[in-house]
């Protein structure tokens, strides 16, 4: 018990100890997207969908939940089901095998919803462009509202893009 307390006291607060987002993380939000996003105000629940990424984007999404980035302090939660989600975060170039699952998930997410394409693969298929097993990018199959480029984007960039959504118009 004392060991645990000592460890916690010694460690202190680490939240925010990360380099700032360097690049403008995504293009400015379109007015209609901003209008749609305003419904979520300061509480945004996201569901992450992997459609064939190399799993680096997943690792960076997971990093957002660690104490350093602590995404929950911005009112952003990660839901276990698309039915609980306000926004879908889609990674990967959309493989032939995942095409149907992606469409299903999009249908199951209640309106209004945002679709965020995370990483170069989701935006333009990246290195997997043209492959016989890839039918993406994401916006070929479902409408995309926000794009966060990078291979993979740094957590600070993802955080900035997600908190931008919450800015009032």
């Amino acid at each position: 018990m004392f060991r645990i307390l000592k460890k916690s006291l010694k460690t202190g607060v680490v939240t925010g100890q990360h380099p700032q987002a360097i690049q403008p993380s995504s293009e400015p939000l379109a007015p209609e997207v901003r209008k749609k996003a305003s419904a979520f105000n300061r509480s945004l629940t996201i569901r992450e969908v992997d459609t064939g990424s190399c799993n680096a984007c997943e690792m960076e999404m997971n990093a957002l939940t660690n104490p350093v980035y602590d995404i929950e302090r911005f009112g952003i939660h990660i839901a276990a089901s698309p039915r609980h989600a306000d926004a879908l975060v889609v990674t990967g170039p959309v493989t032939v095998n995942m095409e149907k699952a992606l469409k299903d998930v999009h249908r199951q997410t209640p309106d209004p919803k945002l679709v965020i394409a995370l990483g170069d693969c989701a935006i333009n298929c990246g290195l997997f462009k043209g492959s016989y097993a890839v039918t993406g990018p994401v916006d070929r199959l479902i409408p995309v509202d926000i794009r966060i480029p990078g291979c993979p984007p740094r957590p600070a960039d993802i955080l900035k893009a997600l908190t931008d959504i919450q800015e009032r118009p």
């Binding site: 645990i4 064939g52 997971n62 350093v68 698309p82 492959s131």
Partner: protein
């Protein structure tokens, strides 16, 4: 060493008709066999000589030759060469004899070959589709040279037939392909009566991106970025394995400094992944404190990677011939100081973790993978070492700088979740020791070598790397004018996934995420 006859000699004693094919070199002995002999010799290698089936792959010889070749690669202990059995299917012949009935580890390989090449393993007990899901049209085999790389096929109706258990009170729980956490896509089908799992069937390949075909469109020296993206968390492992194979083909002598830097990067990758896994295992027992601490330490390592190379995943550093950027003495000092701080930090956390009786109670005897089952599946890496399979490429077939940096291999035999966590904890300390050792001994000099010659068409090279999950294998075959004719990628996950189906039996469904996390296999590296 001289007293004991080598595996090749033992094999030739048992089968006097065998003669090794033309100079095999490279720590490998190749035998060309016809289909009739092959199953018997493969069985002998596996059962009598204790060879592990490390890889089974097929090569479409077109447009140069109207043949398909099947290659069976067996691995033995330290200091023994690989044994490669090769058999040729000429012309229109599409049937080969399955070795799965006697060598269980071949089951997914043979199904994969059937899906991707259309060659049929006769006598295979399970001929359902593996890579191509049911909606792929019949008779389409994408790795055949006649199939274009860039045409998406039409969809057809079809249904995958899961194995069913029937009886009173037995029901099925489907999970995936989209999971509750932020993890990759895969499907698990549990059959349960009450809580204990009676059967688990893993159905993967949702993320099949056609990587092996994409390699064939690239030049040998230009495909490193693709190798880095086979499995993002193993960026260094995969790119290093690919580069080594290409360097063999191009006759590049990698300078010593580059080999040390490669070891440094590989250990950094191992470190951040193992830290994440220890935290993940604790988190799946709802023990959030170590998860938070591990997440924090992992983040510090990722930021260190970023400072060192400009990429949190160490991307863009590996190249055929060496590494693309040097690391200054100051940066190496910075790295060692940071990992030293993390070691002290982690040691404190470790004593908190192992002192927690309720955590130990949850981890012990959960998800036991016996040595026998692990061996039958050819399981490797962290999972294998937790089940008593003493195998580590860094020690058995030293690559990069490991011939000068001896590695202490962590080995446990219980095969439960706790053993897998202990292997990772030990390897964290070992990696940090190796990084310190690298600072002490790293030589100065150039960081990349030049190609000595261009490979002949059809020349090929095998390369093995101990990534943080286990043994990564690449076979690269040169085509015309520096193109790639075939690149076979084998992530350790491909061999380890089927074994998880046995590790969960008798456990309760709520323990499955924990067991799965303790394996922590790659979906992307498996699906390709």
């Amino acid at each position: 060493m001289t007293d004991v006859p080598s595996i090749a000699q033992q094999l030739q004693t048992a089968f006097p008709v065998l003669a090794p094919a033309s100079p095999s070199g490279n720590g490998m002995v190749q035998y060309r066999l016809d289909q009739a002999q092959l199953p018997e010799i493969a069985r002998h290698l596996h059962h009598q000589l204790h060879g592990r089936l490390a890889l089974l792959f097929s090569v479409d010889g077109r447009p140069f030759e109207e043949t398909h070749e099947l290659h069976y690669l067996f691995a033995f202990g330290t200091g023994q060469p690989w044994i490669l059995l090769t058999s040729k299917l000429a012309g229109q012949n599409r049937l080969f004899t399955s070795i799965t009935p006697s060598i269980h580890a071949a089951q997914w390989y043979e199904r994969e070959i059937r899906d991707l090449f259309g060659l049929i393993p006769q006598g295979h007990p399970d001929l359902r589709r593996l890579v191509r899901h049911e909606h792929w049209p019949k008779g389409t085999h994408p790795l055949e040279k006649t199939v274009p790389w860039n045409t998406v096929m039409e969809r057809q109706q079809g249904e995958y037939r899961f194995r069913h258990i029937e009886g009173e009170g037995v029901f099925e729980v489907p999970v995936g392909p989209i999971h509750a956490g932020i993890i990759e896509a895969g499907h698990f089908r549990f059959s349960v009566a009450g809580e204990p799992i009676m059967q688990l069937e893993v159905r993967h390949f949702w993320k099949h991106r056609g990587i092996e075909k994409l390699f064939e469109q690239q030049r040998l020296t230009a495909a490193v970025p693709l190798a880095e993206r086979v499995s993002g968390d193993t960026t260094v492992g995969h790119s290093l394995a690919y580069c080594q194979a290409v360097e063999t083909l191009l006759g590049i002598d990698v300078p010593r400094r580059a080999r040390y830097l490669r070891s440094l990067l590989l250990e950094l990758e191992r470190l951040h992944n193992h830290l994440g896994d220890v935290g993940g295992i604790c988190n799946d027992t709802a023990y959030a404190l170590p998860h938070a601490h591990c997440g924090r330490m992992k983040e510090r390592l990722m930021q260190l990677n970023d400072r060192l190379t400009g990429s949190r995943f160490l991307r863009g550093v590996m190249c055929a011939g060496g590494v693309t950027r040097d690391v200054s003495a100051g940066q190496i000092d910075d790295t060692v100081n940071e990992v030293n701080r993390i070691e002290a930090d982690f040691s404190e956390l470790e004593s908190i973790i192992v002192a927690n009786a309720s955590l130990t109670d949850r981890l012990e005897a959960t998800g036991v993978l016996t040595k026998r089952t692990a061996w039958d599946h050819g399981v490797m890496g962290v999972v294998g070492r937790a089940s008593g399979i003493d195998q580590d490429v860094r020690r058995d077939r030293p690559f990069a700088a490991y011939d000068e940096l001896p590695v202490n291999v962590a080995l446990y035999r219980y095969g439960d979740v706790r053993a897998r966590m202990r292997v990772r904890m030990d390897e964290i300390h070992e990696s940090i020791r190796l990084i310190r050792e690298i600072r002490r001994t790293i030589p100065t000099g150039p960081i990349a070598g030049e190609p000595a010659h261009q490979p002949q068409q059809g020349e090929w090279a095998l390369s093995a790397v101990e990534g943080w999950r286990g043994e990564i294998l690449y076979v690269v075959i040169a085509g015309e004018n520096g193109q790639i004719h075939r690149c076979k990628v084998r992530d350790p996950s491909f061999a380890n996934w089927p074994a998880i189906q046995w590790a969960v039996i008798g456990n309760i469904i709520p323990d499955f995420p924990l067991i799965n996390k303790s394996f922590n296999l790659s979906y992307a590296g498996n699906d390709l």
